[in-house]
């Protein structure tokens, strides 16, 4: 369901920088439903990709065949991302904190990590340059600490400083889609707050999966469940092998 909800965050015709995993699935679902003119850009260089199969990686050959353009990676990062052409960036992360800072580098101390994660890849620059980013992650206290162990992708407050103060062009993670609720940034405080619940989910259940005193917007909206069509596309068409859909 999280994937279907994330897909709805994309508007038709938008230029999206697609990350690996669930974002990949969400973008392809959006393209198959309400956003047929979505322009999918992968950091690997494929622009306007129309994959005939669910890409296993962001460098899948199916992203190239039938795409509008293949750019060198230098052009992707300089002429598309740094140039400000990316409207939405999709990010995931092992840790997301109160201010939307994301960690995909290490759990624990950098020099002596308890868990070594893959690192930034393009995440740092996507978080800085995409006009807005949408984050997808399952709720879990370890995944939503008060503060991340390492800031790979900056959110809304870094040691108390705002994105504008630090000179970041993009608006940062405006929404965090989880498997139980949606969090959105409070533009005044830069803090992630609860704004919508999945059907049948209680605020307490959400709070239990968050490592800080979660604030809620006064009136919470309810997230519409995925339609039969969305579920069918996800399970039967896009990811029949359950490459990304674990549950």
């Amino acid at each position: 369901m999280m994937t279907a909800v994330a897909a709805r965050e994309l508007r038709d015709g938008e230029v999206v920088f697609v990350g690996i995993g669930l974002p990949n699935l969400a973008c392809n679902l959006a393209r198959a439903t309400h956003a047929t003119d979505l322009v999918l850009i992968y950091e690997s260089g494929a622009v306007g990709a129309v994959p005939e199969r669910l890409p296993v990686s962001i460098g899948d050959p199916a992203l190239v065949t039938g795409s509008l353009m293949v750019s060198s990676m230098a052009d992707v990062f300089q002429c598309l991302l740094q140039n400000g052409r990316i409207e939405v960036g999709f990010l995931g992360g092992a840790q997301i904190d109160r201010y939307g800072n994301i960690n995909t580098t290490v759990v624990g101390d950098y020099t002596h990590p308890t868990v070594r994660l893959p690192g930034s890849g393009g995440a740092a620059e996507i978080a800085i340059h995409a006009r807005r980013t949408v984050v997808i992650s399952r709720l879990d206290r370890r995944a939503f600490p008060e503060a991340v162990d390492f800031i790979t992708s900056p959110g809304h407050r870094i040691n108390g400083r705002t994105r504008r103060e630090l000179g970041m062009p993009g608006a940062g993670p405006t929404k965090v889609v989880t498997d139980k609720a949606i969090l959105e940034v409070n533009p005044l405080t830069g803090e992630l707050v609860l704004t919508a619940l999945y059907p049948g989910v209680e605020v307490a259940q959400v709070a239990a999966g968050i490592g800080w005193a979660l604030r809620s917007r006064d009136r919470l909206s309810e997230v519409a469940p995925p339609s039969q069509r969305e579920l069918h596309l996800l399970r039967e068409v896009l990811d029949p092998k359950r490459l990304y859909l674990k549950q």
């Binding site: 962001i58 460098g59 060198s72």
Partner: protein, 293 residues
């Protein structure tokens, strides 16, 4: 390949085997392992399985990278063991993809550094002192910089080249061009050698000119388990299976014995892999364009 690696890859070298998911030259990586090169500084945006294998084989002293995972399948466990202090020591120098691309762009232009609007708010500069800054002489804006990366040797896999190494690549281009121009020595490995006339028939496809190439090696299936657009698909089962192999040092050692040390060359590897034909690319040939005048 044996001769090319013997001649151009030396202990202690800074080595780049590039290719973003596409055209990763496993054939060269395996030969470097076979020839037991040591103390290498391995640089790649995505170390991928090939560097996980080279790390496990003890070739590496240092790793320079930006995303060390097994794309779509899990972790690179030899890398993780080293990084988490559970394996042989490995020096890490870490950037983001943009940072690595910029390092190679500077190297290719033979400039000492490259400028980006990046890294503000991230912890990367805190743990990597090579990420610095410069002030714009026009606006005063403070921008991030990374130092040039100029490898001793770069190995580029391409779909085809002529005998001089004029190499043509289509599909994902990664940073193959930048890495080759940044390097002191360049080895081009191709799926097939074509006549110079085939290169000259479509000069806009040429990514690397022979004048910067030191050795040309023909190695069909040389990028397996990664892929070569128009030649063969990525062996995703192998990538998924690597999770299990690399998780267990003993299993990884067995893999190296069986598929690298135990084989003389790529031909034997292809034979041992068995049915690679299942990965053979379908026909999606585009139309040509007119170069007449």
């Amino acid at each position: 390949m044996r001769e090319a690696v013997a001649a151009h890859v030396r202990d202690g070298d800074t080595v780049v085997i590039e290719g973003f998911t596409h055209l990763i030259c496993f054939a060269a990586g395996h030969e470097i392992i076979r020839q037991r090169r040591r103390e290498l500084t391995l640089c790649r945006l995505t170390p991928d399985l090939i560097y996980d294998q080279m790390i496990a084989a003890g070739c590496a002293r240092k790793l320079v990278f930006s995303w060390a995972g097994n794309p779509g399948a899990g972790s690179l466990h030899a890398f993780r063991r080293a990084a988490e202090g559970k394996g042989p020591a490995l020096v890490l120098e870490e950037y983001s993809h943009f940072g690595m691309v910029a390092r190679l762009s500077a190297g290719a232009a033979r400039l000492p550094f490259w400028t980006m609007r990046n890294y503000m708010g991230t912890d990367l500069p805190r743990v990597n002192p090579m990420i610095r800054s410069v002030s714009c002489p026009y606006t005063g804006e403070v921008l991030a910089t990374v130092p040039a990366l100029n490898p001793d040797v770069t190995i580029v896999h391409a779909q085809r080249a002529d005998a001089q190494g004029n190499a043509q690549i289509w599909g994902l281009l990664g940073v193959q061009k930048e890495a080759a121009f940044a390097s002191d020595r360049v080895i081009v490995v191709v799926e097939e050698i074509v006549d110079e006339s085939a290169i000259r028939a479509d000069p806009n496809r040429t990514v690397i000119p022979g004048l910067i190439v030191d050795a040309v090696v023909v190695e069909p299936w040389g990028a397996h388990p990664s892929y070569a657009q128009g030649y063969y698909d990525r062996d995703n089962e192998f990538y998924i299976g690597w999770e299990k192999i690399s998780r267990d040092p003993a299993a990884l050692a067995r893999y190296l014995d069986e598929f690298v040390y135990g084989l003389r060359d790529r031909a034997e590897y292809v034979e041992k892999c068995g049915d690679l034909e299942r990965l053979r690319a379908s026909e999606r040939v585009c139309a040509g364009v007119n170069y007449g005048f």
